[in-house]
């Protein structure tokens, strides 16, 4: 079997109150249906699911984030599209991530839902942001621009150290 390559493949960035690292063990599947099931979270939020985390990123679309090794999760009749290779996943944590985020995104974390799942733009690059905990974020950014995104993110973090 061919050897998989990490999207970014760079060591974690750690600076004064911010920890930034690539996450490589999560699969992403897009689920879409005209009749969203009741267990889907409200649009713009995520919820726990037996297969992982279910993030509602559109009226009729969810992203399932799971550690299932790429297996397609139970779909509840939804149409499933594997997106695991479309996105780089970056974990951001630490007590200063809100300070970092105000330089990156127009999302207002203070008024956003606790379990936020929102599309946004950072450094002109699309990002899906999940707030896992007050000081723990997950950023999904397209694979093809992930190198530039990581570079820009690193410069920003180091500048704030």
């Amino acid at each position: 079997m061919l050897e998989a390559t990490a999207v970014i493949g760079e060591p974690a960035i750690r600076a004064d109150g911010i920890d930034c690292r690539e996450i490589t063990d999560l699969a992403i599947h897009a689920l879409a249906t005209r009749t969203p099931p009741a267990h889907w979270p409200a649009p713009g939020t995520w919820c726990d699911h037996e297969d992982g985390r279910l993030a509602r990123i559109g009226a009729d679309q969810c992203f399932m984030l799971s550690r299932g090794g790429g297996a397609i999760p139970a779909a509840d009749g939804s149409y499933v599209s594997d997106q695991s290779d479309s996105w780089a996943i970056i974990g951001l944590s630490g007590e200063r991530i809100s300070v970092l985020l105000e330089r990156l995104s127009m999302i207002d974390l203070e008024t956003a839902p606790a379990r936020l799942a929102s599309r946004t733009v950072m450094h002109h690059i699309p990002v899906i942001l999940l707030r896992l905990a007050p000081q723990d974020l997950l950023l999904l950014t397209p694979r093809s621009t992930a190198g530039d995104f990581w570079c820009a993110l690193g410069e920003q973090i180091r500048a704030m150290a």
Partner: protein, 976 residues
């Protein structure tokens, strides 16, 4: 003597922290808490600049962002920043400052000769002179004028500083931290609201830092400190000094620029986008001058600035100071100077009936004016009423205060005139959510400002007024009798110091018919440049009103637009420069391609390999020819991951695909791929690509690289707006798959080496246009499409992107004995021209299916996007240029993209234009140049020759019209 003009006591500077800096190479010192201007004054550097046009000596005129004179270049080398107002620069250890706009030294500027030529340099002189010879204007006159006039110069080097951007959200944005702003912030802060208090100064407090007025019986600055301390204790309040709000934009968004002055990768400035539900504008007011003869000498300052230097910075602006005022507020200057022990030369009040009491022993001239001043590099005397000269080295001028209405006008609000304060106040439509408080709203006394700030917060946020008591303060005297211009002055009287605009210029403009204030501004430059006329506009309007016989309200103001204060282009760019100017999209084989020494090219945001040069190849054509020959004779590999890929699923996916494409898709079997032609609503071709049916309800559509985003957007529009009832779902899969074209007669043989059993690649089992899911290289999931862009037997093999790097290496290894060759976009382009495939050059938004020779492909049996408007007469005109192939009659001749086709013996005119060459290349397969293009009646003219005229390259060649399919027109190779 060190800091000879520093007062022995008082002020808010930190005397324990001495800071060294330089001005024009001379080392001097100031204190922490100084501005550059106050430190220069403390050291007796009153003459700091040369004026814009006449190169007259100029000194520090103000103490804030309104400064028109003291524009200096800060920093050295690439980091030098010209046109920086010394009055807003926070003094820092090691700071270097230089004066600008002089030839020779500041003191001996030989361009000061311009002042002698001033009779010839009046407003708009360059519109009337330098008319002959005409050719001299651009080559001689304009460069000479630009060189002689102007402000500072950029270094010409790349800016080494870093700039950042950010986003802030708040319930209440308070702009300005004077008494009104602090009061508003305190009320809202105590109510638990999210408050953002921004202040352009490095020390919050506004005029309370500059005045001796008391709040709650104590000096005003003490109340500032206590209030700030309380605000800082609130988690819901954020205080941002050194931050200027420069614009009020839509939806409550305000632009602000923060001076951070960071080093080592930290930003120099941060451009903030502030989203505010409510705004209290407490931006204060700016003092204006009075227009009188030679009112521009160093030493002539605004009275409020004099108080700032004395009270806040403990600096004496001069040894002997006179005061010229038309209002009560100006008189406080005299008392503050006296309190600081500074000698007062005289008080000249334009009002005969003012009852203000002077400090003991100070001569007072009521109902008097200053008609002239003297002093070469520094004021030495003033002449009162054309009579007595009075010795003084500083003149404080108090002409009244203008509320800072700028931000209130950014949504087209027009200020209104208030007679009682002789000033414009906010009027018309304010930006939504904005309330104006304090001096910015015409509340020019301290007590009124405190009340106003309190009321603004209570009103904006609907909170309990009792949360914060209004502190006690006085409503100090502020009566004014407008006085704009000393009409009897013999000398030139400056209205706009920054642009060297005089009262005579305003009158001249009016005399020449420029009666509108907007035209006055453009003709004279009044109110332009870094200060945007903060001290000049209202006197200029008053003079225009006087000259036209109108009132000031009838004359009106110019329109205020962002930015309120200069914003560096670097700050607007933020981090989007250099490598981060825009994001680059990299393919999964990018690293491998770099290892091979590929020459990369930008295609949209993607970086793609253009060709792969080998040692010994001296020209790109040599490389590309080799790559094409390798594909045509053996096997080549090209990364085509950049093609847009859209995953389409749903019970109605077939209906959807069939409706967005012009050709039939309703009966495409599962496991098959079909070429698709997509039209826009107007009937023009939008894009093309192949779409594979992966399952009963599942399609994968490919688009051209360039149109991937626009096609996806178009499909979403169709899905959401045109056919919302269809059960269909879209998601981009472009980044999901690494996809490689494996092309050439040996491509099957190569693939057989990596495809896992039992998948059968035989022609019968996996025919042209087939598609399938499979595994390769011992279990790697993959998709295989038998499609060809090159015209050869070819496949496109896709794997999840994480395996893309490994796959290209595996393919190259597996095919080494077959001579497998990597090829780039240039060879790809050559082969598609040889095959006659239209691409971006042909799908330019102006061509129809018929133009491309594809009219028979378009379905007549179904409704689809573009099906109606494609029948418009203009699009069905049989004389429209159609796609054809072209080759030079002289096979050794070159042909060029962009050439236009002209008949033999005809002139190169639009009327004779028969079409254009859209693509051209050298065909290594045929051994000569070939091209694709559009020409009228193409299909009836095969074998005819025309001229291909390239006016841009001054090149002409005779070409023969041929079929666009130069190789394998029957398609035998790709079906092999």
């Amino acid at each position: 003597m060190n800091q000879p003009f520093r007062l022995p006591g008082g002020g808010l500077v930190d005397r324990s922290r001495s800071l060294g800096f330089s001005f024009n190479g001379g080392a001097i010192r100031g204190f922490a808490g100084d501005t550059l201007a106050s430190a220069l004054l403390a050291n007796g550097r009153h003459f700091v600049a040369r004026s814009f046009k006449y190169h007259r000596p100029r000194g520090i005129f103000s103490s804030g962002p309104e400064e028109p004179n003291a524009l200096l270049t800060i920093g050295e080398g690439a980091a030098a920043t010209p046109n920086t107002r010394a009055t807003v620069v926070e003094l820092a250890d090691g700071l270097t400052a230089r004066s600008q706009n002089h030839r020779g030294t500041l003191e001996r500027d030989w361009l000061a000769v311009n002042d002698l030529l001033s009779p010839f340099l009046s407003a708009g002189f360059y519109y009337k002179t330098f008319m002959w010879p005409r050719s001299f204007w651009e080559s001689v006159y304009e460069p000479a004028i630009r060189s002689a006039a102007g402000l500072g110069a950029l270094s010409g080097e790349e800016d080494p500083d870093v700039y950042d951007k950010g986003f802030l959200h708040t319930d209440l944005l308070v702009i300005g931290s004077g008494p009104a702003g602090l009061m508003a912030a305190l009320v809202a802060g105590r109510a638990g609201k999210r408050v953002l208090l921004v202040e352009e100064d490095f020390r919050p407090g506004g005029r309370l830092l500059a005045e001796r007025l008391e709040v709650n019986g104590a000096p005003g600055h003490q109340w500032v400190s206590a209030t700030l301390a309380e605000l800082e204790s609130f988690r819901n309040v954020r205080i941002m000094p050194r931050t200027s709000v420069f614009g009020a934009f839509d939806h409550g968004v305000h632009g602000a620029l923060e001076q951070v002055n960071g080093t080592d990768g930290r930003p120099r400035q941060i451009l903030w986008r502030i989203h505010a539900a409510h705004v209290v504008l407490a931006a204060g007011a700016t003092e204006r001058s009075i227009v009188f003869g030679r009112n521009d000498r160093p030493g002539i300052m605004l009275a409020g600035a004099v108080r700032s230097y004395v009270n806040r910075f403990a600096v004496a602006p001069g040894r002997r100071v006179a005061l010229f005022t038309n209002n009560d507020d100006g008189w406080r200057t005299a008392h503050d100077l006296a309190a600081a022990g500074i000698e007062l030369a005289a008080i000249i009040d334009t009002r005969a009936d003012s009852g203000n009491e002077p400090p003991a022993g100070t001569p007072v001239h009521r109902g008097a004016t200053i008609t002239e001043t003297n002093g070469r590099r520094r004021l030495s005397t003033i002449i009162v009423n054309d009579e007595r000269p009075i010795l003084c080295d500083t003149l404080a001028v108090a002409g009244g205060w203008n509320p800072n209405v700028h931000l209130t006008c950014h949504h087209r609000g027009r200020p209104v005139w208030r007679e009682d304060i002789a000033a414009f106040v906010p009027g018309g439509e304010l930006p939504p959510g904005m309330i104006v408080a304090g001096a910015a709203n015409g509340a020019l006394t301290l007590a009124a400002a405190l009340r106003s700030g309190h009321a603004a917060a209570v009103s904006a946020m609907e909170i309990d007024a009792g949360l914060a008591e209004i502190p006690s303060a006085e409503d100090e005297a502020a009566t004014i009798t407008p006085f704009w211009h000393v009409a009897g002055s013999r000398g030139r009287a400056w209205v706009d110091l920054q642009n060297d605009v005089t009262a005579k210029d305003v009158k001249l403009a009016c005399q020449e018919g420029f009666h509108s204030v907007e035209l006055l501004k453009r003709y004279t430059t009044l109110g332009m440049a870094t200060d945007q006329g903060k001290t000049a506009n209202v006197p200029g309007i008053a003079l225009l009103a006087e000259a036209t016989g109108r009132s000031i309200p009838q004359t009106g103001t110019t329109i205020f637009r962002p930015p309120y204060t200069p914003v560096a282009i670097g700050a607007l760019a933020g981090r989007s420069r250099g490598r981060h100017f825009r994001p680059r999209r990299l393919t999964p084989s990018h690293r491998w391609a770099e290892e091979q020494g590929a020459v990369l090219v930008e295609t949209g945001a993607w970086l793609r390999a253009q060709w792969f040069p080998r040692e010994g190849e001296s020209h790109w054509r040599e490389t590309v020819d080799r790559e094409v020959r390798a594909v045509r004779s053996g096997v080549g590999i090209c990364d085509v991951s950049t093609l847009g890929k859209i995953d389409i699923q749903g019970a109605d996916a077939t209906t959807f695909v069939n409706s967005v494409y012009a050709n039939a898709f309703a009966r495409l079997p599962v496991g098959k791929t079909r070429y698709g032609l997509m039209l826009r609503e107007d009937g023009m071709v939008m894009d093309d690509g192949t779409t594979a049916r992966l399952g009963e309800t599942h399609y994968l559509m490919t688009t051209t690289t360039a149109n991937a985003a626009s096609v996806f957007r178009h499909l979403e529009f169709c899905r959401q707006c045109l056919w919302p009832r269809l059960d269909v779902h879209l998601i981009s899969a472009t980044d999901q798959w690494a996809q490689y074209a494996v092309a050439g007669p040996k491509s099957r043989e190569l693939l057989q080496r990596i495809v896992d059993a039992p998948f059968d690649l035989a022609n019968d089992a996996f025919a042209f246009m087939a598609c399938a899911g499979l595994t390769i290289c011992n279990g790697t999931p993959a998709r295989l499409y038998r499609i060809s862009f090159s015209g050869e037997l070819a496949y496109e093999l896709a794997v999840p992107a994480r395996f893309g790097d490994a796959l290209i290496r595996a393919l190259m290894r597996a095919g080494s004995d077959l001579g497998v060759t990597a090829y780039g976009t240039e060879a790809l382009g050559v082969m598609r021209i040889e095959k006659g495939h239209p691409a971006g050059n042909e799908l330019d938004g102006r061509t129809t299916a018929a133009d491309l020779g594809m009219e028979r492909m378009v379905s007549a049996k179904k409704d689809f996007i573009g099906s109606v408007l494609r029948h418009r007469p203009g699009l069905t005109d049989p004389s429209r240029p159609r796609l054809a192939g072209f080759r030079p009659v002289d096979r050794t001749a070159r042909i060029h993209t962009g050439a236009h086709f002209i008949g033999h013996g005809k002139a190169f005119t639009t009327e004779n234009d028969e079409g254009w060459m859209s693509s051209a290349c050298h065909s290594p397969t045929l051994g000569h140049d070939i091209g694709l293009g559009f020409i009228r009646h193409a299909h009836e003219r095969l074998g005819e020759t025309v001229r291909a005229v390239d006016a841009l390259r001054r090149h002409e060649v005779e070409v023969e019209i041929v079929s666009p399919h130069f190789i394998d027109p029957e398609g035998e190779r790709l079906r092999a």
